[in-house]
Amino acid sequence: MRPLGLIFRGGGKSATFLGGLAPNEVVGLSGKVSTPRMRRTLIQAFTILAVCAVVGPADTARGQDRKGPGPVVISGGTIWTGADSGVIDHGVLVLRKGKISRVGEANRPTPPAPGIETIDATGKYVTPGLIDAWTMLGIDPGGSIGAAASQNAADALDVFATDVFSDARSAGVTSLCVEPPAGSGVVGTAIVVRLADLNDLRSTTTESTSLVARLGLGVRGPISRLGEIKGLHDAFEQAAAYRESWDDYREKLEEYEKKLKDGETVKLKKDEEKKEEKAAPRRRGPAPRGRGRRRGPRPRPSNFASMSDSEILAWLADTHVPGEDPLEDEKHSEDETPTAPDQKKPEKGDGDKKDGDKKDKKEGDELSKPERPAYDADQEIIVRALKRELPVRFEAHRPGDIAFALKIIDEFHLDATIIGATGAYRAAERVAEAGVPVVFGQLTGAGGFDRSHTADFDAQAPAALAADGVSTIVIGSGRKGGNAGSQYLTQNAAIAVGRGLDEDAAMRAITIDAAKVCGVADTLGSLEKGKLADVVIWSGHPLAPDSVVERVYVGGVEVYRRAGN
C-alpha cells in the first residue's frame, strides 16, 4: 500500500491537487482535471470563500501563516493517546510546525513563553482528531447509474459545502473517508478528506485510497441476488484476465523487441530466458510513479519532431484517449525511455507500440508484433486492487453477503475491509478467521417496516465481533448519516459501549483503528510524536452525553473554538 499520509501536502493550492496522481490515473481521468473551467470555478470559489472569511464565519483558521502554525502547548488534561502510552491522566501535548512534537506526563508546569500558545486543559479530555471511516458527507447524493470502478468520490465531493464540513469538525471529526454515492457492485474509489483549511479542502484530499464494492444493496443493476453476486465476482475475474492479458502482452513485446535487436540467431537462448522469467514471481509492490506533471499551460504540439521525448510522453499522458494512437505516423527517436520492465505500465503501451509499429515497417514481415490489448480505465483500477496496491472496501450487510465477500477476498487475495456489516455478528467467526477489519455505520435500530439489508440489525454487533476475536472494529457514520452524520460520531460510538463494547475499543474505533482502515494510520489517528497535529479538546469524556468540543486543531492550527472558550 502506498504511504498515503505523504499525500497530505500542507499549504498546497488547489491547482496542484492532482499533481501527485499515479500516471495511470492521469490517463484514465484526463480531461476531467485542470481544465480552464475548473480553474475558473476554483478561482471563483476562492473569491467567495475569501469574502466569507472577511465577513466572519464561526470557525476559520486563526493565526496561521504560510510557514506553519506557531507552537501550542496543551497541558494538564487527560490525554487519550490511542497509542502505546494509553491514557495519560495529567499530560502535556506539544504541537509544533503542524506536528505533534511531544506527548507525555506534565511533570512541571509549562512556563509561558512568547510566541507559544499555552492551553490549560485541566479537567478536560484531549484526543486525536476523530476519523469518520465511512461517510458520504459532502457528496452529491444522486444515484450513480452504471457505477464504474474508475469513478472517484473526489469528483462528487462538494468542497464548497463548508457548513457541512464545519459542523463535522466542530463535533471533533477532522478526517473523513468519503465513499462514492449510491450504487451496487464495484462503484468506484473512496478518498480521505482531512478537514484542515475548509477554503482549500482539495489540498488535503487524497487521491483514491480504496476501491468500493457493494453487495446486497440492490439499488440498481441486477435484480436477483445471484445475478448481483455473479456480477461482482465477474468484475474481479475479468480484471484478473485483463491483467493477465497485459502481462502477457508485455512479455511478448519484450521477446519481440529482443528478437528485433538480436535477430533470429539468439532465438534458442532467448526461449530459455523466457522460461526463467516466467518462473520468476510476479512483480508486487507499489507502482512506480510517473514523472511529475508539468505545471502551467501545455503547448499544443504542432510538430512532434521539435519536442523532446519526455515532452511528448508528458503530452500524451494528458491527452491520451484509449484506443487512439496520436503518434502513429510521427517520427520517433530510438532511445525510448522506458526500458525497465517495471516501468512498462499499460499507459506507456503507446510508446511501446510506436516503436513496434515503426520497426514493423522497417524490418519486414518475418516477425509479427504482439497485439496490444485494449486499455480499460475501470479494469486498471480493479487491477490495482488485485495487486493489493489499493485496498477494497466491501460493503455487505447480510451474513450471506458477508460470507460471499470473504470468499472473493480470499479468492483474489485482496487487502479488504468489510463495511456496513449489520449482520456480521452472525458470521463473526468467519470474519475473525479472515482477519479483515470491520466498519460499522449507525448503530441504531431500523423501524418496524425495515425489511431492507439492515433488517438483521443488532447494536450488540460491535461487541459481539470483538468478543469473537475480530481485532479491528471501526465505527463510522455510514450511509444513513447522509450529509450530516459525521457530527454524531461520538454518540454512535457511545451506543456501542452501551451494548457491551469496551470503552477504549470504542474510542479506537473512531480514531486509530479508523485511521488504519483508511490507510492513514502512519500520520493520523493517535497522539504520537511525529504524527500530524490533529487534536480535539473536550470538556469531558468524548463519549459522555454532555461533553462538548472546546477546541479543534488540524495540523496544529486552531480551526474551531467553542464560543466562550
Binding site: R39, R40, I43, Q44, F46, T47, I48, V51, V55, P297
Partner: protein, 437 residues
C-alpha cells in the same frame, strides 16, 4: 497567459460578488441592530420628500421619533440627541403598496382549495406564511403594505387580506378580510386540477362545471342568483350540484351589499367585457385585476368608473399566462393609455416577488408614458384608496406612524434603490449603515 486572463476576468466578477455579498450581509446585520435602538429619533435630510404625489417638500427633512413622523419640513434643526442621516440625492416617499400580490402564498393542492368553485368563506390569511422570504424581499425593495390575493383556481375565490411586509408577526395584519376575488378566463377550468366531465372513471368533486367559459359564467351567475334569492328571504328552486354551499351564501350576500370589496381577475378583452356585463346584472361594484387587455375597453371601464389594478408588466407572458393565451396582446403603453384616459389605475407586480418588483413596474410604466408623479400615485395613494387604508399608508403626514422609503435617488430609476425602509414606525431595512461603522 490564458490562465492569467481568466483569473483577471473572474477576479472582476469576484470583486463584484464580494461587494454584493458584503452589502447584503451588512444590510442584514444592521437591519437587526438598528431595530434594537428604535428609541433614538432619526432625522433624515433628503433632496426631496413626496408627502403625496402632488405635495413635494424640497429640500426635505423628516424627523422620526418613537416610530411616528414627528415633523416634515425643508430644514429641521433640533437640539436633543438624534441619529442624523444626510442623503443629499435622496428622495423620500410613502411606503409602496402592492394591491395584488401572492406573497407568502404557495399555490398548489395544499394551500388553495379545489373542492369547490365558490369559496368566499375561506381566507387566504389562514394559508400565508407571514415569515416567508417573499415578504422580506418586498420590504427591502420598499414595498411596505400588500394585499395578498388568493389563488385563481375557483370561480369565486377566497378572501384576500392586507398585511405589512415586515415587523412583529402580531402587528402585521392590517385587515383580515379585504376583498373577495372572482376569476374569469381559463384558470378556474384548468388550474391545479382539471375540472372533468362525467366519464367511465367515475365521479369526484372535480366532475363539475366549469369546463368552458360558458360554464364559468353559469357558476358565477348561479352563485349570486342563489345569494340574491336567499337575501330576499326565499329559497332557490334548485339547490344541488353547482350551487354555492351554505357557508358561502352569507359572504356572497355581503359582496352583493358592497360590504366586502369585490375584485374580478380578467385579462382578455372578452373576459373584461363579461365581467362588466355580470356586474350590471347583479349590480356589483368591482375592481379589475390584471387587465392585460384593459386598454381595449377604456370606454366601458370609464363608463362604469371601474378601477384597474394593472400588472404585472412583463416582456412576454410565461407560466399560466402564456398557457392561457390571455396575455398575448400585452402592451407596455397600456398603463399610460388608461391613466391618460382617466381610468383609476394602480400598478401591481402580481406574483412576481423578486426584489424591486413593484418599483420596477413603476419604472416600466414611466418608460412608456406615465410621469413620475402618476407612477408614484399608482403605487401609493391609488392602491391605498382602493384598499381603504389611505389613513394608514400611501402618503406622509406628521403624526402618523412612519411608513416610508428613503430612495437613494429619484424613485423608480433602475439605478435607485431603497436605502431605508420604515414600516409602521419600525426601521426594517437600512443600507446606510455600513458594516463596521
Amino acid at each position: 497567459m490564458m490562465i492569467t486572463n481568466l483569473a483577471n476576468q473572474r477576479g472582476v466578477f469576484g470583486v463584484r460578488r464580494m461587494w454584493t455579498l458584503a452589502l447584503a450581509m451588512a444590510a442584514f446585520v444592521t437591519a437587526s441592530s438598528a431595530m434594537a435602538d428604535d428609541a433614538t429619533p432619526i432625522l433624515i435630510r433628503a433632496k426631496k420628500i413626496y408627502l403625496s404625489p402632488e405635495r413635494v417638500v424640497s429640500p426635505g427633512a423628516i424627523l422620526v421619533r418613537d416610530g411616528k413622523i414627528d415633523r416634515i419640513d425643508e430644514t429641521i434643526e433640533i437640539a436633543d440627541e438624534v441619529r442624523v442621516v444626510n442623503l443629499e440625492a435622496a428622495t423620500i416617499t410613502a411606503g409602496l403598496i402592492d394591491a395584488n400580490t401572492n406573497a407568502g402564498y404557495r399555490f398548489g393542492y395544499h394551500d388553495a382549495e379545489h373542492a369547490s368553485e365558490c369559496i368566499p368563506e375561506m381566507r387566504v390569511l389562514d394559508t400565508i406564511d407571514l415569515e416567508s422570504n417573499d415578504f422580506r424581499r418586498l420590504a427591502q425593495a420598499g414595498v411596505t403594505t400588500v394585499y395578498v390575493s388568493p389563488d385563481s383556481a375557483s370561480v369565486i375565490g377566497a378572501q384576500g387580506t392586507i398585511v405589512r411586509t415586515a415587523g412583529p408577526v402580531e402587528a402585521r395584519v392590517v385587515q383580515e378580510t379585504a376583498g373577495v376575488k372572482a376569476t374569469l378566463g381559463r384558470e378556474p377550468i384548468f388550474k391545479a386540477s382539471f375540472n372533468r366531465t362525467p366519464s367511465q372513471f367515475g365521479t369526484s368533486f372535480l366532475t363539475r362545471r366549469p369546463t368552458t367559459r360558458m360554464g364559468l359564467v353559469w357558476v358565477f351567475r348561479k352563485s349570486f342568483h342563489d345569494a340574491q334569492t336567499f337575501a330576499r328571504g326565499e329559497t332557490p328552486g334548485t339547490r344541488g350540484e353547482g350551487s354555492p354551499s351554505d357557508a358561502a351564501i352569507p359572504n356572497l350576500i355581503r359582496i352583493l351589499n358592497n360590504e366586502i370589496p369585490f375584485r374580478i381577475q380578467a385579462r382578455s378583452q372578452l373576459d373584461i367585457l363579461t365581467a362588466i356585463r355580470l356586474s350590471h346584472e347583479f349590480n356589483l361594484k368591482f375592481v379589475l385585476e390584471e387587465g392585460t387587455d384593459a386598454y381595449r375597453c377604456i370606454d366601458e371601464l370609464k363608463a362604469d368608473n371601474i378601477p384597474v389594478i394593472y400588472g404585472p408588466i412583463f416582456d412576454y407572458p410565461i407560466g399560466f399566462r402564456a398557457g392561457t393565451g390571455e396575455s398575448d396582446r400585452f402592451r407596455y403603453s397600456a398603463p399610460a393609455e388608461l391613466v391618460n384616459a382617466g381610468v383609476t389605475l394602480a400598478l401591481s407586480a402580481g406574483d412576481i416577488t423578486g426584489e424591486g418588483a413593484l418599483p420596477m413596474q413603476a419604472g416600466y410604466a414611466m418608460r412608456l408614458g406615465l410621469t413620475r408623479e402618476q407612477a408614484l400615485a399608482a403605487v401609493t395613494t391609488i392602491p391605498a384608496g382602493l384598499l381603504n387604508i389611505s389613513d394608514l399608508a400611501g402618503s406622509l403626514d406628521a403624526g402618523r406612524a412612519a411608513d416610508l422609503v428613503v430612495w437613494s435617488g429619484e424613485p423608480f430609476e433602475a439605478t435607485t434603490r431603497a436605502e431605508m425602509v420604515f414600516i409602521n414606525g419600525r426601521l426594517v431595512s437600512d443600507r446606510t449603515v455600513k458594516k463596521g461603522s
